[in-house]
């Protein structure tokens, strides 16, 4: 057998690694490891220069394994694997060692030990690399249809965009009609048009598009499978439909927070939320002459730290609406900061001030107080410019509350195996560069389900989700990473633990050459490794993480610990 030839590339990441970890020492240490025939340090391994050097050395040194010690596998592993493949080396003969996140960043104040740890991690990586085996990825087909869960502005826009790209779309909406939250909204910032003007044509287009099927009054009962091949159960009036889908967009929105017990809400009849105000006060109706709005009710407080992003704009919009209906009305907005970011909303805010709407800042330590026994009659607040407490008369108090996650987002999250963040909104794969993707392939998120978003933002996200959800469908197939498991039938004791734990239904007990044993459907296996951990016979092995590979890593570390102990 030809000797395994390992090449190690240790990256400085500019100063990100080399500022803490003494890279030359790590390089020297790696030179003495078994099977290592080439070691290089690289200023930026991921730069064009760094990558071409990896490719060059694969050819020149006839490398059969490549180890890169650098920043993070999350964004960079595919890059290095591609480089290997371009140089003719199977991409599974590559091993990543994370010496930035695991060394220079977390041990910033201890360069000596950060360096030692980097050496150890490289030793472990090399040890594993020696046992890596080439793997073949296979293609799995993508079913040519997309599911959109939720028929609000975001869901409808995503559906239309997909359909306009020529893709079959199914929209599942829980309510009896499309439209979502904005159905209850009177006019829309920043254009001040009537909601109907936007919603009417949008609903009409969705309903009449030949490639869109809408299931109203329906819920997604279950989703199983993976990108390209989701099995979806949709329940309508107790009747369950089984559908196959290639990709899924989550657009389940959010709801307005109801501030029970705060500022007299739910006790005093004339204390309402912004949404209730929009719903119950129409043009031409008798409008109250003195209105006080209180912002950040239930937001930016210890129990709900986030900012609702769009609720300031809602308050400005409703204040302007009131002033436009009745120019003599006295409207005050009590706020902590006015979140009028960007061009349009800042202009809207300036317009509101010009109309004579009073914006008064309050301090969260010293919040306003709603006065009155049976009805709200006034609001007491510290006026920062006048320097004292004042009482604003109030015929109506409108509380500005944030959007909060819907009750069942937790359930959906479990069902679809996608995470929610600390606020309870769905959590994207990467806050900056993958804002509408989940880390699970084939599922995307848009609109207020992800985070409170105005319509322009929800619509942009919906289009973005449609772009992503269309790509695999247009391709017709996806490549599946070959980190799947296989069962060594000779050692399998047919206990069925693996069948129990597999979240993707990929394992079954079947009669085979060695009697009844576990059998894995690799097209369904996502490589989560649960069954490997659950297998009590050591029969389940994962490609790229098999016992030999992992034990060799532990071995490399253990040798080290023994020698340290003996010193």
């Amino acid at each position: 057998m030809p000797r395994t030839r390992v090449g190690v590339f240790v990256c400085h990441c500019g100063n990100n690694i080399a500022g803490v970890v003494r890279v030359p020492e790590v390089v020297e240490d790696a030179r003495n490891l078994p099977n290592v025939v080439y070691v290089e340090d690289s200023l930026y391994a991921c730069s064009e220069e760094g990558l071409s050097s990896i490719k060059e050395q694969i050819a020149k040194q006839n490398l059969s394994r490549v180890v890169v010690a650098s920043c993070t596998p999350r964004t960079h592993e595919p890059l290095f694997k591609d480089a290997c493949e371009e140089a003719g080396l199977n991409r599974y003969l590559f091993e990543f060692v994370n010496i930035r996140e695991h060394c220079s960043w977390v041990h910033r104040h201890d360069p000596a030990r950060a360096t030692e740890k980097a050496k150890e991690l490289v030793r472990m990586g090399v040890a594993k690399a020696r046992y890596l085996e080439p793997q073949e990825e296979f293609e799995s087909e993508v079913f040519p249809a997309a599911l959109v869960v939720g028929g609000g502005v975001a869901g409808m826009t995503a559906a239309l965009s997909l359909a306009n790209q020529g893709i079959q779309v199914y929209v599942v909406e829980r309510e009896g009609q499309l439209g979502g939250l904005v159905r209850e909204v009177r006019t829309l910032f920043p254009t001040e048009q009537d909601t109907g003007e936007l919603l009417g044509p949008l609903i009409e287009q969705v309903r009449s598009h030949p490639q869109i099927t809408v299931y109203l009054g329906s819920e997604v009962e279950n989703i199983e499978g993976f990108i390209g091949d989701f099995d979806v159960a949709v329940a309508t009036d107790g009747q369950v439909r089984e559908l196959k889908m290639g990709t899924v967009i989550v657009a389940t929105g959010a709801k307005e927070f109801k501030p029970l017990g705060m500022y007299g809400y739910s006790g005093l009849p004339n204390v309402v939320t912004q949404l209730e105000f929009e719903k119950s006060f129409k043009r031409g109706a008798d409008l109250p002459p003195n209105v006080v709005m209180i912002n950040c009710v239930g937001a930016r407080v210890p129990e709900r730290t986030y900012c609702g992003r769009l609720c300031c704009s809602t308050a400005i919009k409703n204040a302007i609406w009131l002033k436009e209906q009745d120019p003599d009305a006295k409207v005050s907005v009590l706020h902590r900061d006015v979140m009028a970011y960007g061009v349009d909303i800042e202009e809207f805010y300036r317009g509101a001030m010009e109309l004579g709407i009073r914006f008064l800042r309050y301090d969260v330590q010293n919040p306003p107080e709603v006065l009155g026994e049976k009805r709200a009659e006034g609001v007491k607040v510290h006026h920062q410019l006048m320097g004292k407490q004042i009482i604003l008369p109030a015929d109506l108090v409108v509380l500005t509350t944030p959007l909060v996650p819907r009750e069942d987002s937790e359930r959906l999250s479990k069902m679809m195996k996608v995470p929610v963040g600390t606020e309870g909104f769905f959590l994207e794969a990467h806050l900056k560069l993958r804002p509408i993707e989940f880390s699970t392939d084939g599922i995307y998120v848009c609109g207020s389900a992800r985070y409170p978003s105005s319509i322009p933002e929800s619509v942009s996200q919906a289009y973005a989700a449609a772009a992503k959800a269309a790509i695999p469908i247009r391709d017709g197939s996806v490549r599946v990473e070959a980190i799947t498991v296989f069962c060594d039938e000779r050692t399998c004791s047919a206990c069925g633990n693996c069948v129990e734990v597999c979240p993707f239904g990929a394992v079954e007990l079947q009669e085979g050459r060695f009697g009844r044993t576990a059998s894995v459907n690799v097209t369904q296996c996502r490589g989560c490794g649960c069954c490997v951990a659950a297998c009590r016979s050591g029969a389940m092995q994962q490609r790229g993480f098999d016992d030999r590979q992992l034990l060799s890593m532990i071995g490399a570390l253990a040798d080290e610990m023994v020698s340290v102990g003996g010193r």
Partner: protein, 446 residues
């Protein structure tokens, strides 16, 4: 049939993301970037809010993915000269400026720059450093090739030098190179030309350009960046000393009808990030952020501010400072502002106060890039009063410009941060796909 090609103008994060999505849809993408490398402003940032990922570390893989994609044709150091036609069928003239470097031969070894005698101000480092007349804007540049900047090269000025040519082992220097004109047929256009920082010298009261220790946000990003001109050493301009007290002034030129009426959207957050980074570098350092409204509206932003206050010695002072003066002896800037003081009875007064700090960071307004004005005029693209590309309907199709077939994403169409720019970029790609209906499969390994 409509052309299955798309022109993307501007190679910042928005243009890069749009190109990747379009290319993955099977469309042919021509990405035109004015400067020698793609990357845009994000390449100049140190870390990014609200998770403090290193900006270059997350950007570099995107740049490489984009440039390496079989369906992307990268046209750097190029500009769009003319556009004719209509949705589905545009004719575009792109002018490639001569780099005086043979891209096929240059290995990016840097020897030429090493030897080049001509030092000029380095725009990538906001003028805080020097580069040579033959240069690569930054080490992770894509393409990783040199450019000779003819305006500053001695050979072009005086007819003598050519040291780079002698040095280059690869014979990549080519002083005979001519401008290249390319005619393209594309079905759609995506504009992503981003922003420029507004020159805060316009606000005399803040003394930018006169007060040595008053710098801008982007200058600060380069200073605090480990791969910047000072390797992350926050030495202040007057004496190189590391300050222990720094102040951020928000809304410099923004939200002011005398300058830029709009809110630039990202500066509250970048100041917060910069305060955190300063304290991470120097644990005793204190920051004072003078703000009008603290516009922290994104996911995890409020929590970021709480962390800045609780863990990183950042104090937020609600006031728009009236002026900045200097203590002649120490060179320390003094920020004049008004503050609210409470009496025991709970009443309060506003009174003038001052704070002496050692460095001031002016968080300047960010303005849409002016370059696209000519193109815009030719195409009949509408712009709003501030110069942002206008969209046809903010609510319905927030990335469609006033001209069918032309889309806009990122900062050139409204102030926004990286995540929002990435969203809009993908959104623009969807709109293009609706128009051009690509059906070809992307190559297997793309």
């Amino acid at each position: 049939m409509s052309s299955q090609s798309v022109l993307v103008i501007g190679g910042g994060i928005a243009g890069i993301q749009a190109s990747i999505d379009l290319a993955n849809m099977g469309l042919q993408v021509y990405l035109v970037e004015r400067t020698p490398s793609i990357g845009g402003r994000m390449a100049q940032l140190d870390k990014t809010f609200p998770t403090n990922d290193c900006s270059m570390c997350i950007l570099a893989p995107k740049m490489i993915e984009c440039a390496g994609h079989d369906n992307v044709h990268l046209l750097t150091y190029s500009e769009v000269d003319e556009v004719r036609g209509e949705a589905g069928d545009f004719q575009v003239t792109v002018r490639g400026k001569p780099r005086y470097i043979d891209l096929a031969k240059c290995t990016g070894c840097g020897e030429c720059a090493e030897k080049c005698p001509r030092r000029v101000s380095d725009e990538f480092n906001m003028g805080l450093d020097k580069r040579k007349a033959v240069y690569m804007p930054f080490p992770q540049a894509v393409p990783r090739k040199m450019t000779i900047d003819a305006e500053n090269c001695l050979y072009f000025a005086k007819g003598r030098c050519r040291v780079c040519e002698e040095t280059c082992q690869a014979s990549a220097i080519d002083f005979e190179q001519q401008e290249e004109v390319l005619e393209l047929e594309v079905g759609a256009i995506v504009i992503a030309t981003g922003f420029d920082p507004y020159d805060p010298a316009a606000l005399k009261e803040y003394g930018y350009g006169e007060i040595e220790n008053a710098i801008t946000g982007l200058e600060y990003e380069r200073l605090i960046c480990a791969s910047g001109p000072t390797e992350g050493h926050l030495g202040r301009p007057s004496d190189g000393r590391v300050p222990q007290m720094i102040a951020f002034i928000q809304c410099v030129g923004s939200r002011d009808v005398n300058y830029k009426a709009y809110c630039s959207s990202v500066c509250c957050m970048h100041a917060t990030k910069e305060a955190i980074l300063a304290n991470e570098h120097y644990p005793d350092l204190k920051s004072f952020i003078f703000y009008t409204d603290m516009r922290a509206v994104g996911k995890q932003f409020q929590e970021y501010i709480i962390r800045a206050k609780e863990q990183y010695h950042a104090s937020y002072i609600r006031s728009r400072p009236g002026k900045i003066t200097v203590d002649e002896q120490s060179g320390n800037p003094i920020v004049w502002y008004d503050e609210t003081v409470f009496s025991e009875a709970g009443d309060s007064v506003r009174r003038v106060a001052s704070k002496e700090v050692e460095l001031v960071i002016l968080c300047q307004a960010l303005v849409p890039r002016g370059v696209h004005r000519e193109i815009a005029e030719k195409l009949g693209l509408e712009m709003d009063e501030s110069g942002f590309l206008a969209v046809r309907d903010r609510l319905e199709c927030p990335v469609d410009t006033s001209v069918p077939g032309i889309f806009a994403c990122g900062f050139c169409q409204s102030p926004q941060d990286i995540p929002d720019s990435v969203v809009q970029a993908s959104a623009a790609a969807a709109r293009v796909a609706e128009l051009l209906r690509p059906n070809s499969r992307r190559p297997r390994d793309a």
